[in-house]
Symmetry: C2
Subunit: 457 residues, 2 copies
């Protein structure tokens, strides 16, 4: 069949097979285990949500990226389509469902609907794909996994400390030792902008400093000046873009500059408290950096914010999170505070690949291939194979009695490390050849020896 | 907020939380482990497929149930919508993507696109949700999981034996001891219909006998007669609807009746061989029943077919599978034979719940709650909690110093089995109260004792 007739993937999506799929599972399994060890319970929500649930939550730009599902059956029934030449007029009538765009809005919907029966503080994790009709870019897909953990209903900073504890624990389990946790509080940014006399322009300010990593201090300053922020005021606070001291010293500097702002001092106290609580969890603070210029784009954060980057891999943040008050207000849920974090699995995958910290065997399913050299599959199979599989050693029997050379070639291509060769001669002596495919060595073993050897792989 | 303003789920979908989500994971994890122990590798495909990939694969009725995604942006651009008052005319132009409907077509697409680089026999498993715009019914959802394993590219019956071996292993690991595997071959049905002189009407015949479980033999016979099948011919073969002997005897009966049909005898021989190979895998045949009336609706099966039911739970089949030749022909992939099976996770969940075979602790995340009785979280926390969490014991610290009664009530509601109570007095003696919430007993322990005790939960 000519290549151009082959079925195509939807642009911006991909298949994930073997090693890649196992890497993703490996990361997700570790994140899940850590979330659960902190008492979080799993939630799974449907891929399909009412468009009315999704609208008004992601801003105008975000809303453009929601995938809409065409109503089933005659979607034009009862609609005067000839009158609707503009797609925006038609849209709400023909597509009432959309695809999950993040995991926060489904959480809000769930809590709003079930809050009478839920136990608060409510701790849930959710690991599912989301879909965004974004322009496809290298390493950026229209379907990707989010791994969220959130606690709803307590203002306690202990939760912030525990979330940061989970970050440390997940990264330790994944073998990532070099990472940087940037920690801030939106109230610090708010009070700085207020002290600059531009209280109502916090979001504009944050949008600019959010680009700090990409464009550098000078261009951010210029952009802020162009936006009409006062140069002298900006220069007074420019120190936040490049603090060099340790955390204690930097907090002290902030205390001095924000002494006129009660909410600023409160935010500094809460960061100090989080650092203190982390020691209670036995977590060293050498990965944590107070970074008052950290903004984390999303406007809905109101308190603590943090993100994690890897000094040796330029891939952006691999974890982000923070506290938001007014959680679920859009669904009528008043006075609920929430705090959460999200691991970026796809970025973590790329990062771990580049750091070389995945286990060597990733992507190799089968550990042992039993060759097949006669029409009659030998009884050895029933003595050895079930025992190995019950011990989760992956075993294959080559399904057809083709030439040994071809069967070894199959093992080679699939990177199968061991092959058991069963020839007529061996069937008589009740000993079997075990071939180490990496070393190229062969040895004779009894059935019981095979089990003992291979079970420990 | 008045209830009618609360956000609604899309009809036919559901949220899955806590115990339910953990049950689903428990089943999927076991299936995955068994699939992997047989050398299958994971594949994940995107939720979004080109509509052109999906069409022509599921029959006219199935096609109605495919969810279509509205093209992003101005989906009416370049279309004269006023001319398209019929939705069917408009449909192909405004919705070019659809949601994954099963896992077989994505597999075909994957193999067709990559067959030059894949190693055959190609063994993949895939566990992902699929979506169908079906009429919602009790226990039947528009989003549900499929758990498929398929082997492409070998006619060897060893694979059939291994697939049935996987069924036995999965059910054993899940604690399901009472189950029935019905085994047949489409060629037996073909040869029966051919011997009845209605060769070209096999599908019609199969569609009727597929209802056997629901409506009984008499109504199936009546329907076949109404369809124009000959009564005498039907009566000659009516024995297949109710065979009472053991497998060997029934195979002998079939051999006698089908002696005129080469393909029929071949199919009987292949079933005999599968039973023989199962003994090689150490699998007893007491769960397996030869059932020549088993049709398995889907017309694409061409060889072995099987399904698994539970005698004590009337929920339909929990596993189904079979062999299909002409795999991937729709995508230009010629002469490829495939054989596979699929576990119905949602049905398995309901069945296991009703059989009471889920572990007791399912749905309880947290094993130990540490109470919080002062502003200052005690140092004990850093001595005990990280060690427990590293051993995957789920631990929570109540985040606020509210009354002990309320904290115990939180533990009660969340079914947390143990609570560590840390009061002033205990902090001095360095001993801590461990309360067993189920027994209502309390004991004093040192930090080290706590770790040892709780680690073994």
């Amino acid at each position: 069949m000519p290549k151009n007739q082959l079925p195509q993937l939807v642009k911006g999506t991909r298949d994930v097979y073997a090693a890649q799929a196992m890497q993703r599972s490996y990361i997700i399994d570790h994140i899940k285990a850590v979330y659960q060890s902190y008492g979080f319970m799993p939630l799974e929500t449907p891929a399909l949500e009412q468009v009315s649930t999704l609208l008004g939550k992601y801003g105008a730009d975000g809303e453009q990226l929601i995938y809409r599902i065409l109503n089933s059956g005659d979607f034009l029934a009862g609609i005067d389509a000839s009158a609707s030449t503009d797609y925006k007029t038609l849209l709400p009538h023909i597509a009432e469902k959309g695809l999950r765009y993040d995991l926060t809005v489904p959480l809000m919907r769930y809590v709003a609907t079930h809050h009478h029966e839920l136990v608060f503080p409510f701790k849930r994790y959710q690991i599912q794909p989301v879909w965004r009709a974004d322009r496809p870019q290298k390493g950026r897909y229209r379907e990707f996994y989010q791994c969220d953990a959130d606690v709803i209903g307590t203002p306690s900073l202990w939760i912030e400390a525990e979330l940061l504890g989970m970050v440390h624990e997940v990264l330790a389990r994944l073998g990532i030792t070099d990472f940087k946790v940037s920690l801030n509080n939106r109230a610090i940014l708010n009070s700085i902008v207020t002290l600059m006399g531009a209280a109502e322009r916090v979001n504009e300010f944050c949008m600019s400093i959010d680009k700090l990593d990409k464009v550098g201090t000078e261009r951010v300053m210029q952009e802020l000046i162009n936006k009409g922020f006062e140069r002298t005021a900006l220069e007074k606070f420019a120190f936040i873009f490049d603090m060099q001291g340790d955390n204690a010293a930097n907090l002290q500097v902030l205390r001095t500059y924000l002494q006129e702002s009660d909410s600023g001092l409160e935010a500094i106290a809460s960061i100090t408290e989080i650092l203190h609580l982390l020691t209670k969890l036995g977590i060293p603070d050498n990965h944590i950096t107070i970074e008052p210029s950290l903004a984390r784009g999303l406007a809905y954060y109101t308190g603590t914010i943090f993100e994690v980057t890897l000094p040796n891999v330029s891939i952006g943040s691999i974890v982000g999170g923070g506290r938001y008050t007014n959680f679920g207000e859009a669904f009528g849920l008043m006075h609920m505070t929430g705090v959460g974090l999200s691991f970026g699995v796809d970025r973590l995958c790329v990062a771990m690949e580049s750091l070389g910290v995945f286990p060597d065997s990733m992507g190799v399913a089968t550990k042992v291939l039993f060759t097949n050299q006669s029409q009659e599959i030998p009884d050895l199979v029933s003595k050895v194979i079930p025992q190995l599989r019950q011990n989760n050693v992956a075993v294959e029997v080559y399904p057809e009695p083709i030439s040994l050379k071809k069967q070894l070639s199959y093992a080679n291509k699939k990177l199968i490390p061991f092959v058991v060769i069963i020839e007529e001669e061996e069937l008589k002596t009740k000993k079997y050849i075990l071939r180490d495919m990496n070393k190229g060595t062969q040895n004779l073993h009894t059935a019981q020896e095979l089990i003992n050897l291979l079970r420990c792989l």
